[in-house]
Amino acid sequence: MLDALLDNVPLQIMLVGALVGIASSLVGTFLVLRGTSMLSDAIGHSIVFGIVVVWLLTHQQSGPLQILGAALTGVLTVFLTELLVRTRRVKEDAAIGLVFPVLFSIGVLLLNLYARDVHIDTHTVLLGEIGFVWLDTVTLGDYRIPQSLLSMGAMTLLNGAFVTLFYKELKLATFDEALAKALGLAPGLLFYVLLLLTSGTAVAAFDAVGAVLFVAFVIVPPATAYLLTDRLWLMFLYGMAVSIASSVSGYTLAVVWNVSIGGMMAVMTGVFLLLAFLAGPRYGIVAQWLRRRGQHRLNEIRTLAVHLYNHEASPEQSEENVTRALREHLHWDDTKAQRVVERSCERHLIVRAGESLRLLPAGRELAREILEPGGRGEPRSVSETLG
């Protein structure tokens, strides 16, 4: 099986892409939920500095120590940002935007200075080369395994282990930080570990997708999941599903159109987000619109029922409870009046008898529920059965 994988370049590329997405969305879920997504942008940029420094010091990029070293720059960025915010001179958003460009700038200048010594050019820094991951391999036993596959696999396992082990603590720290603190869970420390893992993932994913596209893999799949569900564990599942789907579809489209693979994968995460935004079951635009329309229609029916109920068995009944009166008294035009009457008939709330409209028991109940809320009879909610 491993042989089949190692002979199959497209499969390797898709696997690396999916792993980048899965590892990133494991940590990204918490960033999105805490409202600190843009830290991933800051981390993604500033690890460039760390990677260059680590490369200049050790002339290696991919060992665990190297990843840790470069990842510390990400944590440094967050630390410096928080330091700036705590002085109360700079707001949080401005602080984020001040710190990472400085580190990124120094990284780029170091690349300028030591261009001959460093294996990365500024182009790769931003775009990554996921198409070439199979070229850079390490020998493990009898197999030559792509470096990226190895480091991304390790980061995925690490992130997965962290999230599984501290699931309860992370959940509490995310949704109720005060309570977590009161229970002695050190949510601050937990968050820093999370950011360290985010930085580590960024470093490991750097060769494949670069500094900026990484942001898409961290934020977009969890944000998509957030539009689809309210359950934390489902968010992880959806996030992973979006990552895998983006990787596979992104690779396919990139090959067809002969464009950047990493770029296309990131674009596909955006496409899935857009789908969830439009067609999500509960928070999607279409669902919201349908819900509003349903509410609107229900209100029309209620208005009609109340109108009929008010004039029921009164002298002016023959004048008021006719379709014509709806135009004059409720200011409904003919088509609207027609529509509401028809819908009410369909729901067996009223019946038409020639010109006049008559309430049925269910319609009377609906009107009473509005006019005498919490009143007589059992609290049967007609609106709910209608809804």
């Binding site: 843009m38 001179r89 001040l98 200075l113 898409a216 957030y226 464009v259 950047s260 955006g270």
Partner: protein, 381 residues
């Protein structure tokens, strides 16, 4: 090369002029963005300019600066609108909206960039210079366009100054005056795209965020008024831009964009430390003074209370006991009191070990202690 020679160099002239224009426009527009807590929107819009750059190139077929900048303006502004839409119409928060638009628009840019490279168009060279900027390639004609955009932005700010000011500080009040708040806010937001467009050539899409934020944050430390802040931000932006550009010309081979960003960021650091009132340095000095003053008053009133307790204005208090009572060494403070003539020391009994010190308040000391206690009492009531 001397400075005079450098300033006569055609390329350097262009770069310096471009950097100055960038500093001017981003300082002014950035002030509003930072005050309205939209700092990171500049980051999103600049990353989102990349697909526009590529589209401009594809449509024009050459590296025509006009269409490239128009494209950048379009996608930058579009990204801002998409961000607003995502956050207004769904449960996503601002940070997620920013991150989503930033990364997906940039990804589209990357895709288009590789698409252009696949077209084998000879004139596509240097398109990815827009990632980091390519200040040295600035032409006189580019400067005219950048200058024109700057002029438009500054004219808009000047013409709508009062409205922008009101919307930035109190949008609700602005709305109650009947101002079209939504339009003004959208205009202010989209105008950041103008700054981004000017910066594309100089610092590139990635570093543009700092160019919008840094001059404004630095200027904010020195001024409490919007007028002062905007003027100062423009000045800092221009100075940082020129300094960075000259530095890069001197160094030969260091990229201009990062040097400009580092110059402006250095001004931020200096401002945060040294600006009167808001600077850390002054705050530390103030705090140190306050702490000293407090300790001085505490020891003085302790001496006074002990004396009163013993019904003896000349009651000698032991220094060791004062140390224990205050939990710190009071010797320095007591000496200070003595220097001001508020307290005097008396030698202790000769058989006592250690520094035999006892302290007595002078009549001036008693008056001062009464004054301090009096004021404290007033503050309490």
């Amino acid at each position: 090369m001397t400075l005079a020679e450098m300033l006569q160099d055609y390329t350097i002239q262009n770069v310096v002029a471009g950097a100055a224009l960038l500093g001017l426009v981003s300082g002014v527009l950035g002030s509003f963005a930072v005050l309205r807590r939209q700092s990171l929107l500049g980051d999103t819009m600049s990353h989102a300019a990349l697909p526009g750059v590529c589209l401009g190139f594809i449509i024009a077929g050459t590296r025509d600066i006009g269409s490239i900048l128009a494209g950048a303006l379009l996608t930058g502004a579009l990204a801002a609108l998409v961000m607003l839409m995502l956050t207004r119409l769904s449960r996503l928060k601002t940070d997620a909206g920013l991150g989503i638009t930033l990364s997906t628009f940039f990804a589209m840019g990357v895709v288009l960039l590789t698409h252009i490279q696949g077209m084998n168009n000879a004139s596509q060279g240097g398109l990815d210079a827009f990632l980091f900027g390519q200040a040295a390639a600035t032409l006189r004609s580019d400067l005219w366009i950048m200058g024109g955009i700057t002029l438009i932005a500054l004219t808009l700010v000047a013409a709508l100054w009062k409205e922008f000011k009101l919307v930035s500080f109190d949008a609700e009040f602005a709305a109650s005056l009947g101002l079209p708040v939504v339009w003004l806010e959208t205009l202010l937001t989209v105008m950041v795209a103008l700054a981004v467009v000017v910066g594309l050539q100089m610092v590139g899409v990635v570093l543009m965020a700092a160019m919008v934020i840094a001059p404004a944050v630095a200027a904010r430390q020195w001024s409490h008024r919007l007028e002062g802040m905007v003027l100062l931000a423009a000045l800092i932006g221009v100075a940082g831009g020129i300094f960075g550009a000259l530095l890069s010309a001197l160094s030969r081979g260091l990229a201009t964009g990062p040097l400009i960003i580092l110059s402006v960021s250095a001004v931020v650091l200096v401002s945060l430390t040294l600006a009167p009132e808001r600077g850390f340095a002054w705050e530390a000095v103030r705090r140190w003074h306050a702490r000293r003053r407090l300790r001085y008053q505490q020891v003085l009133t302790t001496l006074y209370r002990l004396a009163m307790h013993h019904d003896d204005p000349g009651f000698p208090s032991e220094q060791g006991m004062l140390d224990t009572y205050h939990g710190l060494r009071t010797r320095g403070v007591l000496r200070q009191l003595a220097r001001r003539g508020l307290a005097e020391w008396r030698p202790g009994p000769p058989d006592e070990p250690g520094p035999p010190r006892r302290w007595v308040l002078t009549s001036a000391g008693i008056a001062e202690a009464e004054r301090v206690l009096d004021r404290l009492g007033q503050e309490e009531t």
